[in-house]
Amino acid sequence: MVIAATTLLLACVVFDIITGPADLGFWRTLTVVFNPSVATIQEQVIVWDLRLPVALMAIAVGAMLGVAGAEMQTILNNPLADPFTLGLSSAASFGAALAIALQWSIVPGMGDIIVTANAFVLAMATSLLLFGFTRLRGVTPEAMILVGIAMLFTFNALLAFLQYGASELELAQIIFWQLGSLARASWMKVGVCVTVLVLVMGYLISRSWALTALRMGEEKAASLGVNVSRLRLAVLLAVSLLSAIAVSFVGTVAFVGLVGPHIARLIVGEDQRGFLPISALAGALIMSGTSIASKAITPGVIYPIGMITSLIGIPFFISLILSQRKRHWQ
């Protein structure tokens, strides 16, 4: 299963790299990837500085959102939890809009990365607020989802407020940011994403039985020796970091964090040892496919990915729901 998905993912990456406005051809592109010295400067720039970071960023961000959604759904015991429904994406959009419309930086001295920094800080602040809520006595996971949805609407309203007062140029920029784009990818960002992803995955894998146990209810998990509240806090922090970084780098990408885990659940069930990697792979596949589609729909034009994730993901998802599920212990 994992091998099949990985192979498919590799194919997607290759396909992602060879498609683009400049037509380099299949073999020429692969030659540039594996042997940059023979390529012209222009080809090198196209492949190494533009296409490769975008292709890898798609995978990294997809995997991050897949993992974040999977674990949010696990710890909050709610199939609707993901970075989008918990308000993290809207918080990031509002942060970006603050920077674009008012040039107002939350952390001073950010210079060029003010938009990304604002988005990250607000997304992280929102999850810290959610995190704070879990510490209050008597707050159930259901209540946390409601708080997240309240956040979503609050930030959307604030965002609308900013948009109302913004100039046409700023408005266009805000909307473009919100639609999400992989064009902002760079090797540095890919590096940050991969590092954080590897660290968080390592932690989650080490707690995989405990997370699986959590799906049987708090009391049952506790009776098996899981410190439920501590696990919930640690995982929430870890996945908040993942999603805050992902949305601040590429903008709002709905659907991936929600659907990636559902695809994994339908295929391998919720034993975390399969659920976690497949969620990551499913998220990565959706994003990589999106990246290809965003370039392929109209040759020469790259559409924002946020628009496309849902369009290509939903038919696949519906067909998966409708098909009979079968699985075996592996």
Binding site: S206, W209, A213, G217, S223, L224, G225, G269
Partner: protein
């Protein structure tokens, strides 16, 4: 093997005191103790307190020479295995998955062939072998309870606590499950306490009966001494008649007052 005893345990949820000076004398290993008492008398709370999931405001719980109160929760759960009354069954996990989870004590990642074999055997012994590929969300209440008992029995501990393991089972399975628990307790020579509502089952399977009422343990003794006691009528707020059958088994008949 070690016996279990409790002295003056007090537990409160906020303002509401749920356990009041709970004490019971040493429960011997290899013998099955049955905890009875009306709803909300504190049975589940007592189990959670013994297993360390709830902290008592005062009191002592001792297993042999070990003061359980002094052990960290993780270590304590290696001595005490607690089966809660219910579990959430809306997860996409198979019966095999969840028994494996209990077997692995939620530690580590790898599953080797020994693990596979013990889990398969446990499922077979429990009569749920044919269910092992089924999702827990598809189980009936009774089947879920059989899974829960299997999860408890696959673990190794010195004390086993079962919170109403038979409440959703049909007659045959009630008898089978209690028989299996009783045999396991005896064979492993460990302490076992089962909370039950059915007084006839309690009378039939218990070596010792503990009676809880409003947060106190009001009686402790063999079925012969506890069941006929007039106190039970008072405890449950009913009138009770006890008769002895041809094989000296006690049967309890209750009537509303």
């Amino acid at each position: 093997m070690n016996s279990l005893l409790a002295r003056d345990i007090n537990v409160s949820y906020g303002q509401r005191q749920v356990l009041r000076d709970v004490r019971f004398d040493a429960l011997e290993p290899g013998k099955l103790a049955v905890l009875i008492g009306p709803n909300a008398s504190g049975k589940s709370t007592l189990f959670k307190t013994i297993s360390g999931l709830l902290k008592p405001s005062s009191g002592l719980i001792r297993l042999g020479d070990i003061d359980l109160g002094k052990l960290p929760v993780k270590q304590r759960l290696s001595h005490v295995c607690f089966m809660p009354q219910s579990f959430s069954a809306n997860a996409s996990l198979t019966v095999f998955d969840v028994v494996m989870m209990a077997h692995k004590q939620v530690k580590g990642w790898r599953v080797n062939s020994d693990d596979m074999q013990s889990v398969g055997q446990a499922c077979y012994d429990a009569g749920i072998g044919d269910l092992s590929e089924a999702y827990i969300s598809e189980l009936s209440g009774g089947q879920a309870q059989l899974v829960s008992v299997t999860q408890a029995l696959i673990r190794r501990a010195d004390v086993y606590l079962f919170d109403e393991p038979t409440s959703a089972l049909d007659l045959r399975h009630q008898l089978e499950v209690l028989e299996r628990i009783k045999q396991a307790i005896k064979k492993r020579s460990v302490v076992g306490i089962v909370a039950l509502h059915d007084l006839n089952l309690a009378a039939r399977f218990a070596d010792t009966i503990l009676v809880m009422q409003q947060g106190y343990i009001v009686l402790q003794g063999t079925p012969d001494t506890v069941i006929p006691a007039a106190n039970l009528a008072d405890t449950y707020g009913v009138s009770i008649e006890v008769s002895t059958g041809p094989r000296r088994e006690l049967s309890v008949h209750a009537y509303p007052v």
